[in-house]
């Protein structure tokens, strides 16, 4: 829950990164930061050298907003990442200027919008933020490029269910942390790189460059996927709390899909197969194409209402993801890569 309260927009992940550093420090051998700000946690394996390594990437950035200008006492803004404009009107926000200023996103009435808008959702370029403060005060406190985060506080609806902004992808960060906790009492053969990547919502930049730097033999991306909710299609969505998803498709090595399914069956971890015909839209896409190519897997945690401030997750799925990852790493043998062939 603590993770959800802290801002960490794409390109400005430091606040959340510091929290993750604190959580990971006792669980890894060393922490380092990439040139673009991704957090790398290294846990040495106990196998003989040369030891293979596995990289697990979970993006720590979240979508948000950015100030683009001040006009007549109101603030114009743009988005970072694919913010859903339909969730914005009436949304409470905090602008991080010289100091933090509370505000609300307002939707101008029809007469102050271009003609013909009617009742259509209003695009971000026409929305404004109202702080109630006069223009001169704003000019002294806020400037172009200041970050804006959602002030929606996380909600605990039941023991297992929480809702809030940034479950994409803090839920996965939590899962990776749980994985590291479980690994702490084991001694896997392989080296493990836990990566909290930057700027996934803006092109997967962090994971891709971390992959190049660390050159692992295998890579796993953990992200969130679509849980079934009103209006979502019948295919390609998953029950909330029904388990994690294991990926299958062009970005994913089929040998890894088979290995993960086997393992989940044996451990009786509920899961669904997630069919991804082409791009997954996660760190997996970039990692797969790093340098000479890396076999990749994508494990996802279903959440409802993705990219709104009320994303919803069942914590049991977070625990399942963490456990599945940890067990996969623990059972990796030194010659796993030789077995990971294309069975034509």
């Amino acid at each position: 829950m603590g993770l959800l309260k802290v801002p960490g927009l794409s390109g400005y992940e430091k606040p959340v990164r510091l929290l993750i550093e604190d959580a990971w420090r006792p669980l890894v051998d060393c922490l380092s930061i990439s040139k673009l700000g991704s957090l790398h946690g290294y846990k040495a394996g106990n196998g003989n050298l040369p030891r293979p390594s596995i990289l697990i990437s979970t993006h720590m950035d979240a979508i948000g907003l950015l100030v683009t200008g001040l006009t007549g006492g109101y603030i114009r803004f743009t988005k970072i990442g694919q913010v859903d404009p339909r969730s914005l009107p009436g949304q409470g926000v905090t602008i991080h200027g010289r100091k933090s200023v509370p505000g609300v996103i307002v939707m101008p009435p029809a007469r102050l919008l271009p003609p013909g808008y009617g009742e259509k959702p209003v695009e971000i370029q026409y929305l404004l933020i109202d702080t109630g403060l006069p223009h001169e005060t704003l000019e002294n406190t806020i400037r172009v490029g200041d970050l804006i985060s959602f002030s929606q506080q996380p909600l605990q609806l039941t023991d297992d269910i929480i809702a809030g902004h940034s479950l994409d992808n803090r839920a996965s960060v939590a899962a990776l942390t749980l994985c590291l906790e479980e690994l702490h009492s084991h001694s896997p053969v392989w080296d493990v790189w836990a990566v909290a990547s930057t700027q996934e919502e803006e092109g997967g930049v962090g994971a891709y460059t971390s992959g190049f730097q660390l050159k692992p033999d295998l890579a796993i991306a953990i992200d969130v996927t679509f849980a079934h909710s009103p209006g979502t299609p019948d295919t390609g969505t998953f029950p909330l709390g029904g388990g994690v998803t294991i990926g299958w498709g062009a970005s994913i090595h089929p040998g890894l899909t088979a290995a993960f399914r086997d393992l989940a069956d044996r451990l009786e971890i509920p899961y669904k197969l997630e069919i991804i015909p082409h791009r997954s839209g996660t760190d997996a896409d970039g990692l797969q194409m790093t340098a000479e190519g890396i076999p990749c897997m994508l494990i996802s945690i279903p959440i409802r209402y993705m990219h709104t401030p009320v994303e919803m997750v069942n914590m049991r799925d977070i625990h399942r993801a963490g456990r599945l990852l940890a067990e996969f790493i623990i059972q990796l043998t030194p010659n796993f890569m030789e077995q990971l062939v294309w069975k034509d």
């Binding site: 390609g236 299958w248 062009a250 069919i275 015909p277 082409h278 190519g293 890396i294 034509d344």
Partner: protein, 357 residues
Amino acid sequence: MRNSAPQLNNEIIGLVESLTNASGISGGEGEVRSIVVSQIKSHVDNHHVDALGNVLALRKGEGKDALRVMLSAHMDEVGGMILDIDQDGFHYFDVIGKVDKRQLIGKSVLVGTDHLPGVIGCKPIHLTKPHEMRQPVEINDLRIDLSPEGSGKAHPGDRISFSTRFTRNGAVMLAKALDDRLGVAILIDLVKHAPENIELLAAFTVQEEIGLRGARVAAYALNPQLAIALDATNANEMPAWDDSENIYYNSKIGHGPVIYVADGATICDPRLVRHAITIAERLGIPYQLRQPGTGGTDAGAIHKSRSGIPSLTISIPIRNIHTPISITHIDDFGNTIWLVKEMLASLDRSLLTSERA
């Protein structure tokens, strides 16, 4: 230098037939990969399959300092993937690669590695209202039907290809996946008869149709000094609806290999373009220039790799690309092999030391 097109024997046509009949949708190129590996393995110094499924092979040249040339041809074809099964036993699916949705209705397909036969139908016209006939086709409304007994034998994730079988009618070949099995066949032939002056780095790539993904890692791994992508390009030479001059034909069958100056992904190295044209004109090989515009080939990923790689694309013109039945002319196939072979045989380092443009 030879001064006439190589005679195409039945063996190579047979290879085109088995390659086009094989199912190899982007991400699941296994069947094509098997054919490629069995064809080339005794002709190369080494080969391996990489993390994405590319087949990368090396055929050394004479002398230590032979120019390192990468040739690529993509093994994948456009098609689809089963997503799920609906409550009536019909299968939801999605397309993989750029397939116009209007090409799908009334077609037969093969599903999965077992090649289960299926069809894509639609509501009978008798039961369809006039305003429905004018609605755009949505893939979400289409289904793969494997028949009541077949339903359930296919699984989510199974890949779907058109069921077209190769046929030949004199100089015309009709098949699916001519894009880019023709390129694959040419590359196999080049590997078997590689010119000795170059070090040939053959890349049979994957996932070209969904973003040039295989070529990107292949180029990084092979690190060549120059590259030629062998692909197929559309010949849209049918008459315009009003019989006005067709100025959007892109290329034409029967007019020879298609040399690219620029497409949507690459501005080809002008030195390589000039080299191709010079060779073609010297030997009287018919050739054409592709109309610059959109589209991309493996060269798009290759030329930006590492510190940059001078690249060119040469394609065979085919009609009805990315549809169940494409059409090509045997002479274009033969002339492309001839042009590329002669280009490679006359390549030397001085080409790269001259200024780019």
